[in-house]
């Protein structure tokens, strides 16, 4: 029996449906759009998640943020605490697709889709996010770094749903997500980079750097991170971090850019992301989204 559709209002009912073979749809900005593009067929049986109130919303917790899986990109982009303390997430959420994509598309969907070019993944990886996962069999917590297993592939089982994303706070950190884009809207990252830095006096005490659309998954570059620690994070240090990240990148050639161009631009976007994160850690104003603010920056 195919073509079943259910639209529950509780998570428990949704989990029963996924255990029974229904596949989840939230905003449909990847799942349904992909069927229109002929990438895949719509799953036979669907469970819609958009009427489950407990899956949506942003809450501040003792450790940071708890973001419900069906929270929209627009909700993230407009959230004051995210602007102030998790700024790179706002940089990313505010440039996904179009206004329609941002209102309908969800954070959980963005992560479950596991695109190597997903905007929100780099900032969340750098902040050390975990996803809370549920099924009728129980719950588990997966570090985001372990969620992504390849392009479009995750560690989720077919009956599991992401229910929330936990994002620790890094006190005093400055963060920045930058993408190279051929236009500022309706774009997918040609390459992207996230930097999250914490300063101690004039020197970098902690650094996290992630690259986007430069490897089979969005991933952190520990070599560039450890290099940056102990430096002043200035132009030369940022450039060297960019060079190290570009060296570690494993990009592909596709319709948007060649491998060589991506690798060359990796150095540029990582440098800009570090510059932006340092500036924000120092309390300087870098407009959101940083991609537009830093466009043309050296």
């Amino acid at each position: 029996m195919g073509g079943r559709f259910t639209s529950p209002t509780t998570l428990d009912d949704a989990l029963v449906a996924t255990a029974d073979g229904h596949r989840p749809v939230a905003g449909g900005t990847d799942l349904v759009v992909g069927t229109r593009q002929g990438k895949w067929s719509l799953p036979e049986d669907l469970v819609a998640l958009d009427r489950i109130a407990e899956l949506r919303g942003i809450a501040e917790t003792a450790d940071g943020l708890r973001i419900g899986a069906t929270t929209s990109h627009a909700d993230l982009a407009g959230h004051r605490a995210i602007h102030e303390r998790w700024t790179a997430i706002a940089d990313a959420a505010s440039i996904i697709g179009s206004p329609s994509t941002r209102h309908i598309g969800t954070l959980g969907g963005n992560l479950a889709n596991a695109s190597p070019a997903a905007e929100t993944s780099g900032p969340l990886l750098c902040f050390g996010a975990h996803v809370q996962v549920r099924s009728t069999a129980g719950s588990r917590r997966i570090a985001l770094v372990d969620l992504f297993t390849g392009p479009g592939r995750t560690a989720l089982q077919p009956d599991e749903l992401i229910v929330a994303v936990e994002v620790p706070e890094l006190a005093g950190a400055g963060s920045c997500y930058v993408r190279l884009e051929f236009r500022q809207q309706m774009e997918i990252a040609v390459v992207g980079a996230t930097a999250v830095v914490t300063l101690e006096g004039a020197l970098v005490r902690d650094a996290r750097i992630a690259i986007t659309a430069l490897a089979p998954t969005v991933r952190r570059i520990t070599g560039a991170e450890s290099f940056l620690v102990g430096t002043d994070g200035g132009p030369e240090a940022a450039a060297e971090a960019g060079r190290l990240a570009a060296e570690a990148a494993t990009p592909i050639s596709d319709v948007r850019a060649s491998l060589e161009y991506r690798r060359a631009m990796a150095a540029v976007v990582v440098r800009r992301a570090v510059n932006g994160a340092i500036a924000r850690a120092l309390g300087e104003e870098v407009g959101i989204p940083a991609s537009a603010s830093l466009f043309g920056a050296r």
Binding site: M1, G28, Q37, L46, D50, A74, P99, S100
Partner: protein
């Protein structure tokens, strides 16, 4: 398998029976006869199918109709009051915002959403607000001017 649901479009309730895979656009045009929303690319690039769902813009070509059940849907047919055009529609006419007209319904819907959330947008904000809508006549200058004029008109009406 077909599911009986009610779609609320432009203030009218329509009982329909739908299969899970039906898109909102196909139901608006095929079942309800509301052909103002257009099918352009059919995969969320061009915005000709844009409608409001509970006041927010959505590409109806790539949205499941069953997910729109019991929500408030606004199409371009819902903008005018009787024979009186919405200020945005009037401004599109007066400022050359319509060339071939195919993108116009989606442009009007996105502009409506923009002016609801931001009644006094800058030109950059207008361009960002309409970024999910393509005009293949490239009539963007007239479209932006029309949105600016409508914003001024609506501000004056308050």
């Amino acid at each position: 398998m077909r599911y009986p649901v009610t779609l609320h479009v432009n203030g009218t309730s329509y009982p329909v029976e739908l299969e899970a895979g039906r898109t909102l656009l196909s139901v608006l045009r095929g079942e309800l006869g509301l052909t103002g929303s257009k099918e352009g690319c059919d995969d969320s690039e061009c915005g000709a199918c844009m409608v409001l769902l509970d006041g927010q813009p959505v590409n109806s070509c790539s949205y499941l109709a069953l997910q729109a059940a019991d929500r408030q849907i606004t199409t371009v047919e819902g903008l005018a009051s009787g024979t009186e055009l919405h200020p945005l529609q009037q401004a599109f006419l007066e400022h050359g915002g319509v060339q071939c007209g195919f993108c116009t319904p989606g442009m009007l819907i996105s502009a409506t959403a923009l002016l609801t959330s931001n009644p006094d947008p800058t030109e950059d904000e207008i361009r960002a607000g309409l970024s999910g809508n393509l005009c293949r006549c490239t009539g963007y200058v007239g479209i932006v001017a029309a949105v600016q004029a409508a914003a001024a008109e609506l501000a004056g009406a308050d």
